[in-house]
């Protein structure tokens, strides 16, 4: 019995790594296995080197390991790139004959997958089904499990394609199954077989549907595009318009217009597009129009690494938009949280009539885990507008009436008998342009101080684990949740506590100060080079960390990497 294994399938872009990934994830889930998977892909459509990696276990897993027990290399280049990632007993499957690989190491298993693909499927491309079959055989997943998945995956392409894939997968399965030299892995499947397989972006899209988003406008940009694609898939059924904008400036101004007219609206982008949206963020704040914006971070500056991950937009996003105003920034750590925080983002945006930003990254966007569906069903949605029924009684309406909370009752145009004026210039309570200094002071305090103090009352408390008497406390935000959690739970060489922030603005200063009051060694774990969280924390709480473990190679943290870095820490 094994408690967990890690598998990597690697080849060129265009060889169908994503399809294999989907098939393997489903097969594991149906077999009751816990899984965490991620895609590592280059910014190209064909060639290069891509890989799909999955960690499967008899317990919930939240991150990847760098080392792999099984690697399937679909081209020669992949063998060289990935063979050093094998564990001591790991095995790399590749077509030695086709790639003319002379090495006779025991860890490289000769798997004539292209010959099998051509013999049973008729083309090289069926190698991905051969590989899927081989993985099932290696992990003790019965063939009928993968059979059903392949049928549903390929049925759109016709019976002929379904049959060819099935034959290829079966042949791959049997070739590996019959080989007595290979040690197979066996993991107890204790996970809920009815759980969901979602990635971070799909969770955001479903959160938007649940929250009642009626208008999503965006310009395609990796890694945010799959949010738009997922909403689009359900747009008709849920009465949502998805509009591909001519640029990100159009996207954000469109959602502001839609929100002004009364519907919940959202956009999504990555750092470069978010940069273009900055004036719009400021407009939403000035006009007090609720909007939700997703920044799916990728390595920058400029175009950076289009398909990779980073957490370097933290400073940028919390300061987004010129001028001073209230905003909230959420940084989901898990796929479930991506869903819940999207619903919450709409709620808070509408309640405070502000821009709310969801700060995620490519790592979370493309990671898949099994999710308990009942968790997602419990959430409630509530509106914060003058309802249509109440609108009949509204007279002498002023859009920006001063109130104690800074929040003016928000009417919807045409629902009330009165008209309303909304403007980007400084304005009076009734929305007309003014240059009066007293009005200016009151308006700044309304949009900034008052709303911020309301938002502080609704801060999401950071999660903490094991922090009392910990030898070291690691602190992070967003997608590093999984790796920090697993390190803290499994580390035996020292007591590791962890704190994770899923809200970074307003900064949970009071909460962090309380949590860290007795901590000796505080280290931030960040996917950036600037230790942005450490500096933000110091600014907001006065707490100086003892160090930061920073990763800025465009790749996410893995368990092995964080363990190695912790071992190097001196304290």
């Amino acid at each position: 019995m094994n408690t967990e294994i890690s598998i990597r399938i690697t080849g060129q872009a265009g060889q169908g790594m994503q399809t294999i990934g989907d098939v393997i994830c489903k097969a594991c889930k149906i077999s009751g296995l816990y899984l965490f998977s991620n895609q590592d892909y280059m910014s190209r459509i064909r060639g290069g080197n891509n890989f799909f990696q999955i960690r499967i276990a008899d317990h919930p897993v939240f991150t990847l390991r760098e080392s792999c027990d099984i690697i399937i290399a679909l081209d020669k280049e992949s063998v060289n790139i990935h063979k050093n990632f094998l564990t001591d007993n790991g095995i790399l499957f590749t077509d030695k004959n086709k790639f003319q690989i002379k090495e006779s190491e025991n860890s490289i298993f000769d798997f004539p997958m292209y010959q099998i693909a051509n013999e049973y499927g008729g083309k090289d491309i069926f190698v991905n089904s051969v590989a899927s079959g081989a993985i099932c055989a290696m992990t003790d997943i019965p063939f009928d499990v993968i059979e059903k998945i392949l049928v549903s995956t390929f049925q759109k392409k016709g019976q002929e394609i379904v049959d060819a894939n099935l034959k290829a997968a079966k042949a791959g399965y049997e070739y590996v199954n019959k080989n007595t030299k290979l040690t197979k892995f066996k993991i107890d499947g204790t996970a809920d077989k009815e759980s969901l397989l979602l990635d971070g972006n799909e969770a955001i899209a479903l959160g938007a549907l649940k929250a009642g988003c009626k208008f999503y406008s965006a310009y395609p940009m990796t890694p945010s595009t799959t949010i738009m694609e997922t909403i689009c898939k359900y747009a008709k059924e849920f009465n949502v318009v998805v509009e591909q904008a001519e640029d990100e400036i159009a996207a954000i101004n469109m959602i502001i217009g839609a929100s002004f007219a009364g519907v919940r609206a959202m956009t999504g982008t990555s750092g470069g597009g978010f940069a273009l949206m900055n004036e719009g963020i400021s407009l939403a704040a000035m006009t007090e129009t609720p909007i939700v914006v997703v920044d799916g971070q990728r390595p920058a500056p400029a175009t950076g690494f289009p398909t990779r991950t980073e957490q370097a937009d933290l400073d940028f996003v919390i300061h987004a938009g010129h001028g001073e105003f209230a905003k909230a920034v959420y940084a989901p750590g898990t796929i479930e949280e991506a869903f819940f925080l999207t619903v919450k983002a709409f709620d808070i945006a509408e309640k405070y009539q502000i821009p709310v930003i969801i700060l995620t990254d490519q790592h979370l966007a493309d990671s898949v885990r099994n999710i308990n569906s009942s968790d997602l069903k419990s959430i409630k949605v509530q509106r914060h507008i003058i309802s249509k029924e109440e609108s009949i009684n509204v007279e002498n309406y002023k859009r920006y009436t001063f109130t104690e909370s800074g929040i003016s009752p928000r009417a919807i145009p045409s629902w009330i008998n009165d008209v309303m004026y909304v403007g980007s210039d400084e304005h009076t309570e009734d929305g007309h342009i003014t240059e009066d200094s007293t009005t200016r002071i009151n308006m700044v305090e309304k949009r900034f101080y008052k709303k911020m103090s309301g938002l502080r009352e609704e801060i999401i408390s950071p999660r903490s684990y094991n922090i009392n008497n910990a030898d070291i406390v690691i602190v992070g935000f967003g997608s590093t949740y999984g790796v920090m959690k697993e390190i803290a739970e499994t580390e035996r060489d020292r007591k590791v506590g962890f704190i994770h922030l899923s809200q970074v603005w307003p900064f949970p200063a009071k909460e962090i100060t309380e949590l860290l009051k007795n901590s000796k060694n505080i280290i931030t774990v960040e996917n950036n080079a600037g230790a942005q969280l450490a500096k933000l924390m110091r600014r907001e709480t006065g707490i100086a960390v003892h160090g930061s473990i920073l990763k800025y190679d465009g790749r996410p943290f893995s368990l092995d990497y964080l363990k190695m870095k912790l071992d190097q820490e001196k304290y």
Binding site: E246, A258, P413, V419, S424
Partner: protein
């Protein structure tokens, strides 16, 4: 209902004699003729002297960012297609800062009316060249005279297949009002470029200069003739035609997307949306 129905209490901040007054009156007159209720009309603008117009009309006003009136109008119209959405913008706002949105919203063809106050100069920033300033005109920035060729917005709109392309003159307020009325009635994107003298910063294209050249297209002109429309759209130095230059009935965004047949999105109740069936797709 009369013109006072649409009178706002806000103090007007345009220069005395500004061409914008004629446009303001024409907008109000068109709305009266169409029998629109103030609460059902939404005027959207960006930044510039033209962008102040919505404040001076008693109807809903969204005065957004420079160049970005069109995208805001798109969002508002999609959210609530029952609103009459009119964009008031200038030559800088629409053809300069917002040029990309101008192009793509002609293609998008939502039922929006766009009135461009085209005074061929930047008024609010005090007299720099706009995309439509005549070549050779000297400003504090274009010190030796404009060397860029002027943009021909109407010709451009016709080339993009815009369904309704008109030119008005702010001094011909009744004529302009009729163009606005026709634009609002047209189902799709309507462009009305309005020649509007800037009394402070455009010393060339004055009331006198404009009035000497402007003539009204008569009934013999066929706005469905695209080639003829191109000719009229670029007629400029000696004679300038006003009227409907080009008309091309075609399906709007609302019709093509099918949103014209469903309840406006703003009316949807969103408090109890059931996503269980969607979740099942991810099993």
């Amino acid at each position: 209902m009369d013109i006072n129905t649409f009178k706002s209490n806000d103090e007007i901040a345009w220069c005395p004699g500004c061409g914008n007054f004629g446009i303001l009156n024409a907008v109000k007159k068109a709305l009266v003729k169409l029998g629109k209720l103030p609460k059902d009309v939404l005027l959207i603008s960006g930044i510039g002297q033209a962008a102040k117009l919505p404040h001076y009309v008693n109807c809903n006003c969204f005065n957004g960012l420079h160049g970005r009136a069109l995208p805001a109008a798109v969002g508002a119209k999609i959210a609530n297609r029952e609103l009459t959405v009119i964009v008031t913008t200038g030559d800088g706002d629409c053809y300069g800062e917002g040029g990309n949105h101008f192009l793509h919203n002609i293609r998008r063809n939502l039922d929006i009316t766009v009135i461009v106050h085209d005074n061929q100069i930047y008024g609010l920033t005090k007299g720099q060249a706009s995309p439509t300033t005549d070549e050779g005109y000297k400003t504090k920035v274009q010190y030796n005279g404009v060397i860029l060729e002027p943009l021909h917005p109407l010709e451009m709109a016709i080339a993009l297949g815009c369904g309704f392309v008109a030119r008005g003159y702010s001094k011909e307020s009744d004529h302009l009002s009729d163009l606005i009325l026709q634009g609002i009635s047209h189902k799709g994107f309507s462009l009305i470029d309005v020649i509007q003298p800037c009394v402070s910063y455009n010393k060339k294209n004055t009331y006198e200069w404009d009035s000497q050249r402007i003539y009204k297209l008569d009934d013999s002109y066929d706005p469905a003739d695209r080639m003829l429309a191109y000719q009229k759209a670029i007629e400029w130095d000696d004679k300038i035609p006003i009227g409907v230059i080009y008309k091309n009935e075609k399906p709007s965004y609302e019709e093509k997307s099918g949103i014209d047949k469903i309840t406006p999105f703003v009316e949807n109740n969103i408090e109890n949306i059931d996503i269980n069936e969607v979740l099942a797709d991810f099993k």
